[in-house]
């Protein structure tokens, strides 16, 4: 077995590395190449960067692709750019806009992994005769006692990207490799320096890639011009307490920027967005207590453990936002396993539809689903 768990000489093992142009995937590709693998780098062109950034920034468009190509050229392995703009637009950007219009808070990165990187790109990798596909994600992959691949949180919990990868199917996982899962970012940057990669000091990306200025409402408006329908801000007790410019500007749990004066609640307690009602274009507000929910309902689930023998109320730990530590809960799968309920040990605030709920057993990722509601 070679270091990628394939029973072949590295030189005979073709690895497609999904290269974003950032430091993580650059190091992944360069290291595998250094170890003698038949590395093929692929960078996806996902959106027209000139159109999504301000005009003055167009000189920066394509920098990530340039960086990935430069790394490949300098290390001496082939690299290709695939134009996935139309797939990305349909599967990710339009879904992102539609999700906001349904009053949800979407996570486009999961959709991108699910339907672009691990679907279309993975098929391309197989068509190229690759033995596996590697990415620079911080997540650990191991094979369990039955020989199936299992996913674990990254060694560096601060960098762990498992939340964004919950929708990876077992079949995809068997083909995928994440060589950086056991590392922390400092180690990756050290390796990038040792290998002399131009991406060594490149800052981490912070935003959603196609919303570089953080103004997601602008993107939603561009995709769905009808999205910005003004409406009422309604208190949970039924009173109309204000006007809003469109539900796309609000997210569950939001407190700031509601534009409502004082004197609505007793003691002038702050108001939070409790619910979003797309049908009536209502933003529903209320006191913090009204946000507390104990049960999460999820759909379109993906499970990476033996669900046949899963008992109801299986103890798990769950994350319902990317930036939170997993908390105690119990998981009950519905018969078809496509939907499930997660009962939290303690009620939590700010559970938003459109986000993912991801379940863990210690560090192992059991899978998860898309939040449709909370009670």
């Amino acid at each position: 077995m070679n270091s990628l768990g394939i029973d072949k000489d590295p030189a005979q093992t073709r690895v497609v590395v999904a290269m974003s142009g950032g430091v993580d995937s650059s190091v992944t590709a360069a290291l595998l190449h250094e170890q003698g693998y038949d590395v093929v780098g692929i960078t996806l062109q996902l959106y027209d960067q000139g159109a999504s950034t301000a005009k003055s920034k167009t000189c920066c468009a394509g920098q990530d692709i340039y960086d990935a190509k430069k790394v490949a050229d300098e290390r001496g392995f082939p690299h290709y750019v695939l134009n996935y703009e139309s797939n990305f637009r349909e599967s990710v950007i339009e879904d992102f806009a539609d999700s906001y219009m349904r009053g949800e808070t979407p996570i486009p990165c999961v959709k991108c992994n699910q339907s672009v990187k691990f679907e279309d790109l993975l098929k391309t990798a197989r068509d190229l005769g690759a033995d596996c596909m590697a990415t620079g994600h911080y997540i650990k992959r191991d094979t369990d006692k039955d020989g199936r691949a299992a996913l674990y949180r990254a060694h560096d919990h601060g960098k762990d990207q498992s939340y964004f990868l919950f929708a990876t199917t077992q079949e995809q996982l068997d083909f995928l490799r994440f060589p950086l899962g056991g590392w922390d970012k400092a180690r990756t940057r050290d390796e990038a320096k040792r290998l002399g990669l131009i991406t060594a000091d490149k800052p981490d990306s912070q935003d959603i890639c196609f919303v570089p200025d953080g103004d997601y409402a602008k993107i939603v408006r561009r995709i769905r011009p009808e999205a910005e329908k003004p409406g009422d801000i309604v208190h949970i007790d039924g009173r109309t307490v204000g006007k809003h410019k469109g539900i796309i500007h609000y997210t569950i749990g939001q407190r700031k920027g509601l534009g409502i004066g004082g004197g609505i609640s007793e003691n002038n307690a702050p108001l939070y967005v409790i619910a979003i009602d797309p049908e009536n274009a209502h933003v529903v507000v209320g006191p913090k207590e009204a946000l507390a929910k104990k049960t999460i309902l999820i759909k379109d689930c993906n499970w990476l453990f033996d669900t046949q023998t899963a008992p109801p109320n299986r103890p798990v730990r769950v994350k319902f936002r990317s930036v939170m530590q997993p908390i105690e809960a119990a998981l009950s799968l519905d018969k078809d396993q496509n939907t499930a309920q997660i009962t939290l040990a303690q009620a939590q605030y700010g559970i938003a539809a459109g986000q993912a709920a991801v379940c863990y057993d210690e560090d192992r990722i059991l899978g998860g689903g898309w939040i449709i509601g909370a009670q």
């Binding site: 093929v40 134009n83 139309s86 068509d127 005769g129």
Partner: protein, 392 residues
């Protein structure tokens, strides 16, 4: 371990012919500004004028009727700029350096549609000409993506009948079919050096009529003021040398032995005489059909040059196949190199009404002066391997 490299993308650019390399080497030896009065300048001038004569012999027009440019894109832009604010007709399958320039410069323009084999519809051309007075008709001789040959002589005659002038982008035709400007009735003709085995960075625009010299750039007196800027002597010399080879062995690119003086230091590598290009093409196409019986060859029913085969394997992605072949050391293309890297369907295939999925599965193989039967054979073997993998 050195992987075999097989180059089957001559329509993108052809390998430099040894004769052209030799002419360039000589030109680069000394500082040759062809406009200078001194001996160095005169030597450079001689190289340029010799090149002009070789090109003149290729397209049967007086050397004085040819101006050198940086390439076919410049030649096409120069010519079309000359018809600024007038009415121009062009075939729906022209190269972007023609269509984009026309859409930019011309005041009024219409495409001439092609049939499903990619051949222009002469009756529509005639009705377009009758409909409104037209200054210029531009029809390429050979399509870069499909290799389909256009009825240039007939189109030129129609243009003239209705008082229009006729331009022909003959970039992919030179060395593949005879090009006699007089006989075909071509008023303006565009050539490119690197498609015939010369270097990149040189092209020509030839004009049949005096008093019609199109000018785009303004500056010094080079090329009789028609194309200012210090001449690219080495590139032009290489262009001329390549033109000489192909005009002495028209119309095919059979591998005649090197015609230039043999270089003492590095004799050109011996290559066995090639098969005729038509034989290579049928060998390739019969081979492809044997491997995948659902192969579609674009423009198959039309007259085509022997070096180009544009084909699709339904249900596949040309983008993936291109990478898979490249990883095996085989260089081919999907459509034209200029539009690779975009997901837009080839305008040429769209004009031919080719189904979009089939267009995205389209691969172009283009051979040339150094292609051997062994290379086609190796391609067919690797193609078999690569496409079998897709079915698993």
């Amino acid at each position: 371990m050195m992987k075999t490299q097989i180059y089957l993308d001559y329509n993108a650019t052809a390998p430099l012919r040894p004769e052209a390399a030799e002419a360039m080497r000589k030109a680069l030896e000394k500082p040759h500004n062809a406009s200078s009065v001194h001996a160095f300048g005169r030597e450079g001038r001689k190289m340029i004028e010799t090149a002009r004569e070789h090109i003149s012999a290729l397209i049967k027009i007086a050397p004085a009727q040819i101006i050198f440019s940086s390439g076919a894109t410049e030649s096409n832009n120069t010519l079309i700029h000359h018809f600024k604010d007038q009415r121009v007709l062009y075939s729906a399958v022209e190269h972007p350096s023609v269509t984009q320039a026309i859409q930019h410069f011309a005041q009024n323009h219409d495409p001439i549609p092609v049939d499903q084999n990619g051949v222009i519809d002469l009756s529509i051309l005639e009705s377009l000409l009758k409909h409104q007075p037209t200054a210029l008709v531009s029809v390429m001789a050979v399509n870069n993506e499909t290799g389909v040959i256009q009825p240039v002589k007939e189109a030129a005659a129609l243009a003239h009948k209705h008082g229009a002038l006729f331009h022909c982008d003959a970039v992919q035709a030179a060395g593949r079919i005879p090009l006699d400007m007089e006989e075909l009735g071509i008023d303006f003709l565009t050539l490119s050096s690197h498609k015939i085995g010369g270097p990149q960075g040189a092209g020509a625009l030839a004009f049949r009529l005096c008093g019609q010299t199109p000018i785009l750039l303004h500056g010094g007196g080079q090329e009789k003021y028609a194309r200012p800027g210090t001449e690219n002597v080495a590139a032009i010399a290489g262009f001329g040398a390549a033109a000489q080879v192909i005009s002495q062995a028209p119309p095919a690119f059979t591998n005649t032995p090197s015609l230039s003086e043999p270089s003492i230091n590095e004799p050109p590598p011996y290559k066995p005489p090639l098969k005729k290009p038509e034989e290579l093409q049928s060998f390739l196409e019969i081979g492809l059909c044997k491997i995948n019986n659902d192969i579609v060859i674009h423009g198959q029913a039309a007259p085509r040059v022997a070096n180009t085969t544009s084909f699709a394997l339904p249900g596949t992605s040309a983008e993936t196949l291109l990478m898979a072949l490249d990883l095996e050391g085989i260089a081919v293309s999907n459509g034209s190199a200029c539009s690779s890297g975009t997901t837009k369907t080839s305008p040429v295939l769209r004009a031919m009404n080719v189904d979009e999925a089939l267009a995205k599965a389209t691969i172009r193989i283009s051979t040339g002066w150094a292609t051997t039967k062994e290379e086609i054979d190796a391609f067919l073997q690797i193609w078999t391997k690569v496409t079998q993998r897709l079915k698993i």
